[in-house]
C-alpha cells in the first residue's frame, strides 16, 4: 500500500532528509516515531503529494505519487487519502456538518448528506451536526475531524500527533478509535507521533523512527 525506496527530500537551501525504505501493506499500521522537527511531517507531506521527492521512489495505493501532475495529484489526494492533522482545523465559520461537506467540495463531488450523517453517527457524534466547532469538547472535535478524514473511505489515513494533549485514558481511546475506524474502512493507518505512549499502545505496528540530530530516518 505504501512503498518507499531511497526516498530523499531536499529543501532548497535547507536540510536534506533521507528516509529509510518502508513497505506497509493495505490495512496495516505504520508508526512514525521521533521528536519534533525530525522529518515526520515532511514524510507525511511526501506521501500526500504535497512535496515532491528529490530522489527515490514513493508508491501509495499502487500509484507513483511523483508521476502525477499537480491537478491530478490534488484529485488523487482527495480520493485516496484521509488526514487527521494535529491541529484539527475545523472551520469556525461552518457547522460540524458543513465542515464535513468541505470534503465533497474539495473533491469536486456533490455533497452526500447521508454519508455525512452516517460518518458522524459511526463516531458517535451524530447529534453535533448543527453545532459550531467552538461548541465542541476536545474529544468531540477530534471525532468530528476523524469523521471528516474517513468520509470518502480513503485507502490511507494519515494522522499527525493524534494523542497530543490527551490524558492516558483519552490517548488509549483515541488510538483504539483510529485503529477501529481504519480497519472498518480497510485503510492503511499512518500515525506520526513523538508520544511514547503510542509506541506501547500500537505495539503491533510497523515503526519508522526519525532521529532528531541526524538527517536520516531509521526503520
Amino acid at each position: 500500500m505504501i512503498e518507499t525506496h531511497g526516498l530523499v527530500c531536499a529543501y532548497p537551501g535547507g536540510p536534506v532528509l533521507r528516509f529509510a525504505d518502508v513497505s506497509v501493506p493495505q490495512g496495516g499500521t505504520l508508526l512514525l516515531r521521533g521528536p519534533s522537527g525530525s522529518g515526520k511531517s515532511s514524510w507525511l507531506a511526501l506521501v500526500a503529494g504535497l512535496l515532491t521527492p528529490s530522489a527515490g521512489s514513493l508508491q501509495v495505493a499502487g500509484q507513483e505519487v511523483a508521476a502525477l501532475g499537480p491537478s491530478a495529484r490534488d484529485a488523487w489526494r482527495a480520493q485516496q487519502l484521509g488526514f487527521l492533522p494535529q491541529k484539527l482545523h475545523l472551520s469556525e465559520a461552518l457547522s460540524v456538518a458543513d465542515n464535513l461537506a468541505l470534503v465533497f467540495f474539495a473533491a469536486g463531488l456533490p455533497v452526500d448528506h447521508a454519508a455525512i450523517a452516517q460518518g458522524l453517527a459511526a463516531l458517535g457524534v451524530a447529534d453535533l451536526a448543527r453545532r459550531k466547532p467552538a461548541q465542541l469538547s476536545v474529544g468531540q472535535a477530534q471525532r468530528v475531524a476523524l469523521a471528516r478524514a474517513l468520509l470518502l473511505r480513503p485507502r490511507v489515513l494519515l494522522t499527525d500527533e493524534p494523542t497530543a494533549s490527551l490524558d492516558d485514558a483519552a490517548c488509549a481511546a483515541a488510538l483504539q478509535l483510529l485503529q477501529r475506524s481504519a480497519q472498518q474502512n480497510g485503510a492503511t493507518l499512518v500515525v506520526a507521533t513523538h508520544d511514547a505512549r503510542v509506541l506501547q499502545l500500537l505495539a503491533q505496528a510497523q515503526v519508522l523512527t526519525f532521529a532528531a540530530s541526524t538527517d536520516e530516518a531509521l526503520a
Binding site: 519534533s36 511531517s41 515532511s42 507525511l44 507531506a45 500526500a48 504535497l50 512535496l51 499537480p70 491537478s71 490534488d74 484529485a75 488523487w76 489526494r77 482527495a78 480520493q79 488526514f83 492533522p85 494535529q86 491541529k87 482545523h89 472551520s91 469556525e92 465559520a93 461552518l94 458543513d98 461537506a101 468541505l102 470534503v103 465533497f104 467540495f105 474539495a106 473533491a107 469536486g108 455533497v111 499527525d160 500527533e161 497530543a164
Partner: protein
C-alpha cells in the same frame, strides 16, 4: 455545497465587516448610478420636450430664458411679441410649421397655454377623456394637472393671473374643461391647453372697460400679441440663416433649443462631475476596505484554506473562493446601489413633480447603468486579486507543521 454557497457562508461569518464593506460599496455605486440615472433622465426629458422644435421665437432677452419658458415651461418668458410679426414669420419660405403659444395665467400653478391643436399634435398627445377644445374658453387638462386638481371634463375653472400659483383669479371668464390628455411623459402633462383666443379673451375681460366702443376693440385686436412661437424648419439648412434673419431683421429673438440646452447641461455638468467624483472617492475607499477585509480573511482563514488544499481542492478553487466572496459583495452592492439610486431618482422625480418641473421616469433602465455592474465587478476583482493570489499560493505544508 459549491463555490457560491461556501463563499457566501464565509462572507457572513464576519457579519460586521461584511455589512460595513457592503455599505461603503453600495453608497459608492449608488452615487455613481444616481448621477447616471438623473443625468440621463433630465437629458431625456429635455430631448422629449425639444423633439421637432428647431427654433423658438419670442421677445428679445435671454435666449436660454426663452427656451426654458417656451419649451419646458420652467421660466418666465422675456416678454410678448406682436401677432402680426408672427403671422409674417409664418409665411417665411424656410418655416414648415409655426405653433403659437400664449402664456400669462395658471390653474393651481399649472400654466394655461393658449395655442392651436398643432401643439398637442406635435407631441403625439392622446386624449384620455373628452375631446380637444373647439372654441375659446374651452380647455384640455394635462394628465398631471387633472390628477392634481381632480377636475373632470364638463367642469369649469377660473384661471389665476401670472405663471405661478397665488395670482388674482379671472372669475369673470371661466374655462370649461372639454378633455383630459393621457400621460405622455412630456411637458403637456403639466399644462392646461386652450385656444390662443382664450388668453386674449380673459385679458380683454380684465382690461376692457364699459366705455370702450367698437373702434377701441378693433384697435385692441390690431395690437394682439402672443408670448412666443415654436418653429420647425422645412430644411436643416435654415438653421444657419433663419435665426440670423429673425435676430437682425425683426424685433424678435430666435433661440435654438439644442444649443441652449447643451449650454445649460454644460453648466449643470460641473455639479454632476462633483457628485461623480464623490462617488469615485467612496468607491476607492470601498475597494480598499474590501481588500483589507479579504486580506485579513486570508490571514485568519489560512488554516481553513490550507485544509481545503490538503483535502484535494486545487489552488485555483481556493483562490476562486476568495474571488467569489468579493463577487458576492459586488453583486449585493450593485443591486442595493441601483435600488438606492432609483429611490433617489424617484425622490428627485417627486420633488420635480411637486415643483411642476421636468417629468422624470423613475424606474426606466438607462443604458449607461451597465457601467454600474461593470464597475462593481472591476472593483471586486481589483480588491480580491491579491488576496486570491495569496490564497492560490498558500503553502499547505505549513498546515502539517502547525502545532
Amino acid at each position: 455545497m459549491n463555490l457560491l454557497s461556501l463563499s457566501w457562508r464565509y462572507l457572513w461569518s464576519r457579519p460586521l465587516s461584511t455589512v460595513l464593506n457592503l455599505l461603503l460599496l453600495t453608497l459608492g455605486l449608488a452615487s455613481v448610478a444616481f448621477v447616471l440615472v438623473a443625468r440621463d433622465q433630465i437629458e431625456r426629458a429635455f430631448e422629449r420636450d425639444l423633439a421637432g422644435i428647431d427654433v423658438v421665437v419670442g421677445a428679445k432677452g435671454s435666449p436660454l430664458q426663452l427656451i426654458l419658458a417656451g419649451v419646458f415651461h420652467l421660466d418666465v418668458p422675456p416678454g410678448n411679441i406682436a401677432l402680426a410679426d408672427v403671422q409674417a414669420l409664418q409665411q417665411h419660405p424656410q418655416v414648415a410649421q409655426l405653433i403659437p403659444l400664449s402664456l400669462g395665467d395658471n390653474l393651481a400653478g399649472f400654466r394655461i397655454v393658449g395655442t392651436t391643436h398643432d401643439y398637442p399634435a406635435h407631441y403625439g398627445a392622446r386624449l384620455a377623456q373628452g375631446r380637444l377644445w373647439q372654441a375659446p374658453m374651452q380647455a384640455v387638462l394635462g394628465a398631471q394637472v387633472a390628477a392634481r386638481t381632480g377636475l373632470q371634463p364638463g367642469q369649469t375653472f377660473a384661471g389665476a393671473h401670472g405663471l405661478g400659483a397665488g395670482g388674482a383669479t379671472h372669475g369673470e371668464a371661466p374655462y370649461q374643461i372639454t378633455g383630459v390628455l393621457a400621460p405622455c411623459g412630456c411637458v403637456l402633462d403639466r399644462l392646461v391647453l386652450s385656444a390662443t383666443e382664450s388668453v386674449w379673451q380673459v385679458h380683454d375681460e380684465m382690461h376692457a372697460s364699459d366705455d370702450m366702443d367698437e373702434s377701441d376693440l378693433a384697435a385692441l385686436a390690431q395690437e394682439r400679441e402672443i408670448t412666443l412661437a415654436l418653429i420647425r424648419y422645412k430644411s436643416p439648412v435654415a438653421a444657419v440663416s433663419f435665426p440670423r434673419y429673425v435676430n437682425e431683421q425683426t424685433a424678435m429673438q430666435a433661440a435654438a433649443p439644442a444649443l441652449e440646452i447643451t449650454r445649460l447641461l454644460g453648466m449643470v455638468g460641473v455639479g454632476t462631475q462633483v457628485f461623480q467624483a464623490l462617488g469615485a472617492v467612496l468607491l476607492g475607499v470601498a475597494a480598499l476596505s474590501v481588500f483589507i477585509a479579504l486580506w485579513s480573511a486570508v490571514r485568519e482563514r489560512r488554516s481553513d484554506l490550507a485544509l481545503l488544499r490538503l483535502l484535494g481542492a486545487s489552488p485555483l478553487k481556493v483562490g476562486a473562493l476568495l474571488l467569489c466572496e468579493a463577487l458576492w459583495l459586488a453583486a449585493l452592492a450593485c443591486v442595493l446601489g441601483l435600488l438606492l439610486a432609483h429611490g433617489l431618482a424617484a425622490l428627485l422625480g417627486a420633488v420635480l413633480m411637486a415643483e411642476q418641473s421636468l417629468v422624470i421616469e423613475r424606474w426606466q433602465w438607462v443604458q449607461a447603468k451597465w457601467w454600474v455592474p461593470v464597475l462593481a465587478l472591476g472593483l471586486a476583482l481589483l480588491a480580491a486579486g491579491l488576496p486570491a493570489l495569496s490564497a492560490y499560493r498558500l503553502d499547505v505544508n505549513q498546515l502539517l507543521n502547525t502545532r
